[in-house]
């Protein structure tokens, strides 16, 4: 099953979870992510918008937003929740937009769930204007490479950090892929995106403060 198919199959579960306040990554990471973005009044493509929680927030902050997702169920619910918003069904690795269509592409907690994030990053670069920004948040690659051993108060890597490893995210029960940090950077480099900022958000509940749980990156298109 591709990631695209897997996400369509969990769309109802995801929506129930998100709309009952069960999305920890949003509660914890979204405000820090918004601070990373260049200021509003820009045209934004939100990549992997899901049911639209980030797009609605960006619109409220004053951005002109187009949300895109590969799941018909997600896009349908995003439209239902925000009838005035613009939501497009499409593949991040083959974006249905012309070159230089946006000032900003934002991918909040979605690249790690895509079949080909490097292709999605290159496509993002293509639809950005020169000087435009690409900002993304993912689960931190160190965090997805192992697990917390609570008894011994330590972090344990049993398998390979360097391999791409499909897994079900333990808390939210959704399909994701661990990839090493370099795999994202290869996409950025191929797309001609230069990284300005990397933020590592600390763990809060398990081994609090010791390990990075999310990675936020801002890059600029040359």
């Amino acid at each position: 099953m591709t990631q695209k198919e897997a996400w369509e199959s969990v769309a109802e579960h995801w929506i129930a979870l998100v709309r009952t306040g069960g999305d920890r990554s949003f509660d914890y990471g979204a405000e820090a992510f918004f601070e990373l973005l260049p200021p509003p009044a820009r045209s934004v493509l939100e990549l992997g918008c899901g049911e639209g929680r980030v797009a609605r927030r960006l619109a409220a902050l004053g951005y002109a937003v187009v949300g895109l997702d590969s799941s018909p169920t997600m896009v349908g619910l995003a439209r239902e929740a925000d009838p005035d918003g613009e939501y497009v069904l499409g593949d991040a690795a083959a974006l249905p937009f012309g070159d230089a269509s946006f000032d900003l592409v934002a991918a909040f907690m979605s690249l790690q769930d895509m079949d080909d994030p490097a292709a999605a990053i290159c496509e993002s670069a293509r639809v950005l204007v020169s000087g435009g920004c690409f900002c993304f948040a993912v689960i931190h690659p160190l965090w997805t490479s192992g697990e917390v051993d609570d008894d011994a108060n330590r972090f344990v890597i049993r398998g390979s950090y360097l391999a791409a490893v499909p897994h079900i995210r333990p808390v939210m029960q959704v399909p994701s892929i661990h990839r090493p940090l370099e795999s994202y950077f290869r996409g950025l480099e191929e797309g001609g995106l230069l990284v300005q900022t990397m933020h590592e958000l600390p763990t809060r509940t398990r081994l609090p403060g010791l390990l990075p749980v999310y990675l936020h990156v801002r890059a600029v298109r040359t």
């Binding site: 192992g146 972090f155 940090l181 990284v195």
Partner: protein, 231 residues
């Protein structure tokens, strides 16, 4: 003891280790070759920042780069000066004019410096606009951890903090060598912040993989290589 003092005190032993194939095998075998691939083609003038006994400067000179090394340790610089041009100075106060170089390369040295931010700021100052800063460090994801055993399936364990910067001492005694690989562990965000503050953007990041027979090490990255451009 500062990192600078620790490394200065073992300069002679480090020089012996670095120049003997029974001592340092990882760097000549795969770390240095990958790092040389990261560098831009030879240009006007290159600075080897934290040159130690001069292994990178020698490799650059052999490839036609006009290179000068700098290290805070007089003993290291004396060893490097046997084969390349090198000067004694602190990375946070470089004795070079603004824009004097088009390349600054720091091979396995940034984590041995006590003050990262000032070293990176000075690097930006001595680089011309669009000059490149390339560095290699022990990968920050593995520096604070270790394998639980020598078994092939051994788990890699991180005890304590990845996110807090802290000093680590790792005394290696083997084959008649005795080197303390003293280093400042810093999370990737610390490197990113230092680069951003100094006016750099990152154009390439590589997680360098171990090449060799210890199969445990094929599961974790060994080194982090990064190339940044000065705006």
């Amino acid at each position: 003891m500062t990192l600078r003092e620790t490394w200065d005190a073992q300069a002679a032993e480090w020089t012996r280790f670095a120049r003997d194939p029974r001592g340092d095998s990882w760097n000549p075998r795969f770390n240095l070759p990958r790092f040389l691939e990261l560098l831009p083609p030879r240009g006007r003038r290159a600075l080897d920042l934290g040159c130690g006994e001069g292994r990178l400067a020698r490799a650059l000179a052999a490839r036609g780069y006009a290179v000068v090394g700098v290290d805070s340790s007089a003993a290291m610089v004396a060893a490097a000066s046997e084969t390349v041009e090198a000067v004694v100075a602190d990375a946070g106060s470089l004795p070079f004019d603004d824009g004097a170089f088009d390349l600054v390369a720091a091979f396995m040295s940034l984590h041995d410096m006590d003050d990262l931010d000032n070293a990176v700021r000075e690097t930006a100052r001595v680089l011309e606009p669009r000059g490149r800063f390339c560095f290699a460090v022990v990968h920050p994801f593995v520096l604070p951890g270790r394998f639980e055993s020598r078994e092939e399936s051994a788990r890699f364990l991180i005890r304590g903090s990845y996110l807090d910067s802290h000093r680590r001492d790792d005394l290696v005694e083997r084959d008649g060598f005795r080197v303390n690989f003293a280093a400042a562990h810093r999370p990737i965000e610390s490197y990113s912040r230092a680069l951003e503050q100094a006016g750099f953007v990152t154009e390439r990041l590589r997680e360098v993989r171990y090449e060799g027979d210890d199969s445990r090490r094929h599961r974790v990255p060994s080194f982090l290589h990064l190339r940044a451009a000065r705006l």
